[in-house]
Amino acid sequence: MRRGLIISLGLHLLILISAVAVFPFSSERPPPRPTLLPVDLVSKAEFTQLKAGQRKAKDEQAKAKKKLEKAKKKAAKKSKPSKVKSVKAPAPKPKKAENPPKKPKKTVKAKPKPKPKKKVKKPKPKPKKVAARPKKTTARKKKEAFNPDRIAALLNKVPDAGPKSPAAPEPKKKPSPAKGRSDGRDLTMTFNEIDALRTKISQCWNPPVGGLGADAIKVRLRMQLRPDGSLSREPQVMNRAGSPYFQAAADAAVRAVMACQPYELPAKKFALWRDMILNFDPREMFGG
């Protein structure tokens, strides 16, 4: 009787413990809440160029807000607070607002607006280049003597591939930001932080092209970093294949990661990016 009771208690306890162990974990990854996100329609390249300013702005956002509020009270009626909110001003601007009482008009947050605009405009030549590519494919008469730099346009010769660009891949391909940890370090990598990293590595990555089946070769690389953004050890190729094409592709991926260091990533989020996996997949470059 007593034995049966003990067994029953033991089993119930086991079920209870299992429930405690498993349910909190599964509840750690709830389906994303349908929160309303403000969306600015800017190109990926523009995001990339803005990332430095935005990151700093984030750090000083709280300070800046407080100063803004002070400034609002003293500022002239010209101030337009609605504009302040939407513009994630680059770091230098909130610093200017440190003496709001003296020059209230300058602290009027409308001023930061032109700055970011300039910054956004700078990267425009890049998207333009991209947009120019399809023209090359159609207007072949205009083709000039070979220019190695124009190789980048090669794959757009596939008529049905449609214009693709490193700066603007299909939106569905955008990976979701990394999940934050449940241990209090509730951090995530933002789209533009990931995008900046991706763009930087893309610029260093010279994949071997034109080989038979080269578009199907994927290289999975483990990258481990120090807090200063430099590699803490040589990148490790995580997958294997016997072909010389794969060897060349793997070498190219390792070269890219080594050549691109150090990486500018948010120091606060070191736990997220200290050890990551990079999937080098050239399919999109081949119009796949």
Partner: protein
């Protein structure tokens, strides 16, 4: 006694509970830790040429050093012409390479943004034999990727350069090189209405040119055998078109047969044992295969149309050819026994001279569209047609053995105009003129020499 056994079983149960608890906690931590690693997809890369540093190759004597510079020059020219590599300006080099067996100072080469480094040394041995060695270094990974020694007669120094370029190309791109190859083409001299046409052979970079025929008779459409030693061509030596088989090394020539109204020379099968050709009978032309040993011919097509310009797939199982059976010239693919004939070209225009790529993935062709002739490629199933180059008159594509580059000839307009040779890679952007002393047409690219 009873009590002690109950206690024991109680202890066992508790141990089981604790074990289960430990396992549950361990699994919980393992799962939470496992998904902490971030993954980033890199789907776009730079397609700029890879920056490579190639210092002049060293040598013990002044003569060796000069030869070293010449060989390095061949390597540089080959790699740059491929469009995939760009030489880092030699004036920027910091380290002077002395000992080949020592690793270079990678930091010096990183500073000047070189991604790969090719170093070499040339030594002329007492016997007069040339020894050339090279090493290919990955600057950012800090490791040697390739290293080889070549021994040869001094006069073959250009070939040594091509072999080194092939080794570098293969290691960095993963595909076979094509620099140690030759081109046979028709050399054309004299005025437009009285051209003297001779068969010529040269290295793929236009060097080491020599004539194979004297120009007494019209020669057309040379084709390389897969063995690289023999070519077939069409010649009108006594006014009648005959197909000849010429051994390049020995100069030995034999007649395959006399074929009236033949306009293209035959092509070899991949094993070199058969040739395929089109023979005109009345107003029609059909495709035949001939066994080179028995000289027996087999008919492959039988249509009241002009079927011509056949070319084998590299596995020998299929044949691409052109036919006007639909009203205008289009491309067709059939099995090597003539069965399963299927049209693959669907675009507007007139298609001709199809050639199957040595790697099997594409078929190159000439196409007349409006006033222009273009060179294009299409997949064997007819999909993915692409134009590589277009102009006044482009014709006669021939594949490099790695299936990545095509050579063709382009006729320039006007009284003083004539055909010249060009190469273009599959990107369509890396187009280069091939320098020949006079006009050149009908190129045929050899397989790799060794």
């Amino acid at each position: 006694m009873m009590n002690s056994s109950e206690n024991k079983s109680l202890a066992r149960i508790w141990r089981g509970v604790i074990l289960a608890l430990t396992m549950a906690v361990a699994s919980f931590w393992a799962q939470t830790g496992a998904h902490a690693q971030m993954e980033v997809d890199i789907t776009q890369g730079s397609l700029k040429p890879l920056p490579v540093a190639i210092p002049v190759f060293g040598g013990a004597s002044l003569n060796d050093q000069k030869l070293g510079a010449d060989i390095a020059g061949v390597v540089v020219a080959d790699l740059e012409r491929s469009g995939l590599f760009k030489l880092v300006d030699r004036a920027a080099y910091i380290e002077r390479i002395g000992n080949l067996s020592q690793a270079p100072r990678f930091s010096d080469w990183r500073t000047i943004n070189a991604q790969a480094l090719v170093v070499g040394r040339v030594t002329r041995e007492a016997s007069g034999r040339l020894r050339a060695e090279f090493r290919l270094w990955d600057i950012f990974a800090g490791k040697q990727l390739a290293g080889q020694q070549f021994f040869t007669q001094g006069r073959n120094w250009r070939r040594v350069g091509h072999l080194i370029a092939d080794a570098v190309y293969e290691r960095l791109t993963g595909e076979k090189g094509y620099f140690d190859t030759r081109i046979v083409y028709v050399d054309e001299t004299g005025p437009k209405n009285a051209r003297v046409k001779r068969l010529a052979i040269m290295d793929q970079d236009g060097r080491n040119l020599r004539m194979l025929t004297r120009g007494g008779a019209l020669v057309l459409t040379p084709r390389f055998s897969p063995t690289s030693q023999e070519i077939t061509y069409l010649s009108y030596e006594d006014g009648r078109p005959r197909v000849y088989l010429l051994n390049i090394e020995t100069g030995q020539k034999e007649i395959v047969g006399a074929f009236p109204n033949m306009s293209f020379a035959p092509r070899f099968s991949p094993d070199g044992k058969n040739i395929i050709m089109s023979l005109q009978q009345g107003g029609n032309a059909n495709i035949f295969m001939m066994d080179l040993q028995s000289r027996r011919t087999f008919r492959l097509t039988n249509t009241p149309a002009i079927d011509t310009a056949p070319s084998f797939s590299p596995d020998g199982r299929r044949i691409v050819f052109e036919s006007d059976r639909s009203g205008k010239q289009q491309l067709y693919v059939m099995n090597s026994d003539g069965s399963g004939q299927k049209r693959i070209s669907q675009g507007e225009g007139i298609y001709s001279t199809p050639v199957w790529s040595p790697r099997g993935d594409l078929i190159a062709f000439t196409k007349k569209r409006g006033p222009n002739f273009l060179i294009g490629v299409v997949k064997p199933d007819g999909s993915g047609e692409r134009v590589l180059t277009e102009g006044f008159h482009n014709e006669g594509p021939t594949w490099a053995p790695n299936g990545r580059v095509l050579m063709f000839f382009r006729e320039s307009p006007g009284e003083g105009g004539g055909p010249n040779l060009y190469t273009i890679d599959l990107t369509g952007y890396n187009e280069r003129a091939v320098t020949t002393p006079s006009f050149g047409s009908d190129p045929a690219w050899s397989p790799l020499i060794n």
